[in-house]
């Protein structure tokens, strides 16, 4: 019994291993099959993958660049504080104490290796929130960015509502004996009218 049991155990073990092996082979075959089918469709998939990676890369690196590009970008995201109302890099007063100092500060921060947010925060701390040329996307300032798009969405909804209500409006009653031409009959009239009124 024990032996039998041992044999049975071996048998079960062997069967188990064979099943495992079969499963593995099947799985392997399945994988190979899938790989083969993938290879068959590789050009299309690869192209899509490449496109996705490229797109992601484009969006990831959009706006990124060397220090001079960052200087230009950040310099256009801040205002000169001399009261001229100009964007920092567009303040053209020779000897303007504010813009010269701020440009030097910006360059120093870039040289130090600070990231954009840190640099802007530093300027806000020193010059106040009005130094940033556009509202930040935080707190109540978000409303500034959202409202135009809300207005656009409401506007579109309103236009759609107006158009639908116009379309569903019953046509004005016609005098007896007059019918409005439709379909091909209308097209015929259109053609005729176009022909006779075309310039």
């Amino acid at each position: 019994m024990t032996h039998n049991g041992k044999n049975q155990g071996h048998l079960f073990e062997r069967l188990y291993h064979e099943r495992l092996h079969r499963r593995g082979r099947a799985a392997l075959q399945g994988r190979v099959g899938r790989i083969k089918s993938l290879r068959a469709s590789a050009p299309a998939v690869r192209r899509i993958l490449h496109a996705l990676i490229l797109t992601a890369a484009v969006f990831l690196f959009m706006g990124a660049g060397d220090d001079s590009a960052r200087f230009k970008d950040l310099g256009h995201r801040m205002m000169c504080t001399c009261g001229c109302g100009q964007v920092l890099l567009e303040c053209n007063h020779v000897g303007c104490q504010s813009s010269d100092k701020m440009r030097n500060q910006l360059q120093a921060a870039l040289d130090k290796g600070d990231n954009d947010d840190l640099i802007l925060q530093g300027f806000v701390q020193e010059y106040g929130p009005t130094v940033i040329a556009a509202p930040t996307a935080t707190g109540f300032n978000r409303v500034a960015w959202i409202m135009p798009f809300v207005a656009l969405a409401f506007g579109i909804a309103f236009v759609v509502y107006v158009v639908r209500s116009w379309k569903n409006r019953p046509a004005p009653a016609l005098a007896d004996g007059i019918t409005i031409p439709r379909g091909s009959e209308l097209d015929e009239f259109r053609q005729k009218a176009r022909k006779e009124t075309d310039l």
Binding site: R77, N141, A151, I180
Partner: protein, 679 residues
């Protein structure tokens, strides 16, 4: 002198108040005597013009006579001010510009009251509305911002001079144009309100005001663009539009006025959008007033604003009252404004106008929102935030691009319904052309995926090309038919075509101009700039140009002293021009002024023209050498050419149509539907 001016202003107030009250009574009383009363009101309105004109003349004469006993002349003029700028003194300060505003309004009212026979009752209503606006301005002039106020104390020997920024030829033209636009919208507003109050039957009031509206719109367009050009040519930062609150204030009524010009066609042709059109013209007038309030109240800081004063409250009250009156009559008489037709298809001229209006108003709302957000932020958060160019560029530009798409598509859609085949037929050539332009940009090295600004520039180029090709294809299509029928050459046929339907083809020309303006703007991401201290023979490389400093010097005259550099511009080793960037120091005001010099390179590269823009920024006090900032601004000249074409298109649209060629109909047509892409 000042007594004559003060008397003229008081007289004008009395006359306009009489014109308003007597006109109002005459409209409400329906007896025999009301006609005579109405006539006296009309004549009082005409006399108002004479009185305000007298006040204006007195102020100008006082400027020419250096009458510094008048505080306004002391603050805005000086003895050595050139004559042309002495004339401009009239609109260079708070009080004078309000007088100028009042004068223009009285002038418009004068013309309107002379033409009253067109429709006496409607004109009487409009005259009363104009008189009410006139009374408001004359009240301010007499009691809050008096232009003839007398200087206290000893008589000064000389004035403090005109603001140096205003001492530029364009500033003699820009404010009158802008004011003619702002004030001019009072006329269609007055007719609209009058028509609403009297429940005027039909759309005749629109036909009466059509030319007024177009002329006004044209003035406002010129005013806005001249303002941009002045900023470009005088402020010296190399740009023309900084989204300053005052610039925004001029753009907002322009946007709603443009929307009105489009949507009013729906009312004329299909009897639709009546409430909408009323609302649009009311909004345009109110935005004109809001712009005036913004520049004069001091609530928003701007480089263009007049000094802070108390008249902001007057404007707020007036705007509130006007809004209340307009809203009351819109609600009370809404049954009169019911639409007469239904929309048949989404792909039609009607729906394109709806979306055009929507986008114009969204841009307008965005600008209004951005302009007032600092105040709102202060109210909510306790501190102001800046809403500058990055905000407007990011939010308004995408919507403006959609608008450009509609500018291309809209005119080719027929009233009521457009078939897909007709769309394909009309758009194939323009779409191919537009895509080719996009392809060429990429071929020449523009990478729209590298930077959002390049993406917008490419989109703007493609859509502008679409507008241009659409307009060209429309002219060619119509021209060929006429040429075929009349044996004329194609250009003569196109001119004939234009004359046959001036409004439609004038509109196309305006669209063409708009596309050129957009082309001029889209060069912005490709701007280059270099700043350098330049001694004799020093060079700056700027794109394909080499700038060589030949010399620098200084000069002096009674009005100002100046420093300037002589810069030779070379391209490909050949000298193409010499430029003289300058900096002035005005003696009376003690203020400096930069005068950039601009060279548009039309001779070198016509289509891809660039501005070489030089600014004399100042002098290094240690070395004594000038600091020159050089900008290369691609395509900017197209903006000003676009403006000229827009004005030309408006003039064409104002010309009456030539008599239509009679085509004998062989078979009677039963359904007189308006089909095809009419105006």
């Amino acid at each position: 002198m000042s007594q004559i001016g003060s008397f003229a202003l008081l007289l004008a107030l009395g006359l306009s108040a009489y014109s308003f009250l007597a006109g109002l009574v005459a409209l409400f009383r329906q007896d025999a005597s009301s006609a005579r009363l109405g006539e006296t009101a009309r004549r009082a309105g005409i006399a108002t013009f004479a009185a305000v004109l007298l006040a204006g003349i007195v102020l100008v004469v006082a400027a020419f006579n250096d009458d510094f006993s008048i505080a306004y002349i002391f603050h805005h003029s000086n003895r050595d001010l050139p004559a042309a700028y002495k004339f401009a003194v009239l609109w260079s300060g708070q009080e004078g510009s309000l007088l100028f505003w009042s004068l223009l309004l009285a002038g418009y009212g004068f013309v309107l009251r002379l033409r009253y026979k067109t429709d006496q009752r409607l004109f009487a209503h409009a005259s009363v509305v104009i008189a009410s606006v006139q009374v408001f301005f004359l009240l301010i002039l007499n009691f809050a911002a008096h232009p003839f106020a007398i200087m206290q104390g000893a008589l000064p020997a000389d004035g403090t001079g005109l603001n140096p920024l205003l001492q530029y030829p364009e500033m003699v033209i820009h404010p009158p144009m802008l004011y003619l636009g702002y004030v001019g919208f009072t006329v269609p507003f007055a007719f609209a309100l009058g028509a609403l109050i009297m429940k005027y039957p039909g759309e005749k009031w629109i036909q009466i005001t059509r030319r007024w509206t177009m002329v006004t719109w044209c003035f406002l367009t010129i005013g806005v663009f001249l303002g941009a050009h002045w900023a470009y040519a005088v402020l010296g930062w190399g740009g023309y539009w900084g989204w300053d609150p005052v610039e925004n204030a001029s753009l907002m009524p322009w946007l709603t006025g443009t929307a009105f010009l489009h949507s009013v066609m729906m009312q004329e042709k299909r009897g639709m959008l009546k409430v909408w059109n009323m609302s649009l013209i009311f909004a345009t007038f109110l935005l004109s007033m809001l712009g005036t309030f913004l520049t004069r109240s001091g609530v928003i800081s701007s480089v263009h604003a007049f000094a802070q004063s108390s008249i902001g409250t007057w404007f707020l009250v007036f705007i509130g009252l006007t809004l209340a009156v307009c809203t009351f009559f819109l609600v009370a008489n809404r049954s009169h404004l019911k639409s007469e037709h239904k929309l048949e298809s989404l792909v039609s001229r009607e729906s394109s106008f709806l979306f055009n209006n929507l986008l114009l108003l969204v841009v307008c709302f965005t600008i209004l929102w951005g302009t007032f957000f600092p105040i709102l932020s202060e109210f909510v958060q306790g501190h102001k935030v800046t809403v500058g160019p990055p905000f407007f560029n990011r939010v308004a530009v995408p919507v403006a691009l959609l608008l450009l798409l509609l500018t291309a598509v809209g005119p080719l859609l027929a009233w009521r319904k457009t078939s897909i085949e007709s769309l394909k037929r009309n758009f194939l050539f323009p779409a191919i052309g537009a895509l080719a332009v996009g392809g060429m940009m990429i071929l020449f090295g523009v990478r729209p995926w590298e930077d959002p600004s390049y993406f917008y520039a490419t989109m703007a180029a493609v859509l502008s090309a679409l507008v241009i090709f659409t307009v060209i294809s429309e002219f060619l299509r119509g021209g060929r038919v006429i040429a075929g029928k009349s044996q004329q050459n194609l250009f003569a046929a196109m001119a004939h075509l234009c004359h046959r339907n001036t409004r439609r083809y004038g509109g196309y020309i305006v669209h063409f101009g708009v596309a050129l303006v957009v082309i001029g703007i889209l060069g912005t991401p490709f701007n280059k700039e270099v700043e350098k201290e330049m001694g004799f023979g020093d060079k700056i490389s700027l794109g394909p140009y080499t700038l060589v400093c030949q010399s620098y010097t200084q000069d002096d005259n009674p009005n100002y002293g100046n420093e300037w550099a002589i810069i030779n511009v070379f391209r490909g080793g050949k000298q193409i021009t010499t430029m003289y960037p300058e900096r002035r120091f005005y003696k009376a005001s003690g203020q400096p002024q930069t005068l950039p010099r601009i060279y548009p390179s039309f001779r070198e590269d016509f289509f891809l023209v660039s501005d070489v823009y030089l600014v004399y920024e100042g002098k290094n006090e240690t070395t004594g050498r000038p600091i020159i900032k050089a900008h290369l601004n691609p395509l900017v000249p197209w903006i000003w050419i676009g403006l000229i074409i827009m004005v030309f298109g408006t003039i064409v649209a104002l010309v009456p149509n030539a008599a239509a060629v009679q085509v004998a109909a062989t078979t009677p047509v039963r359904a007189p539907a308006q089909v095809g892409a009419g105006d």
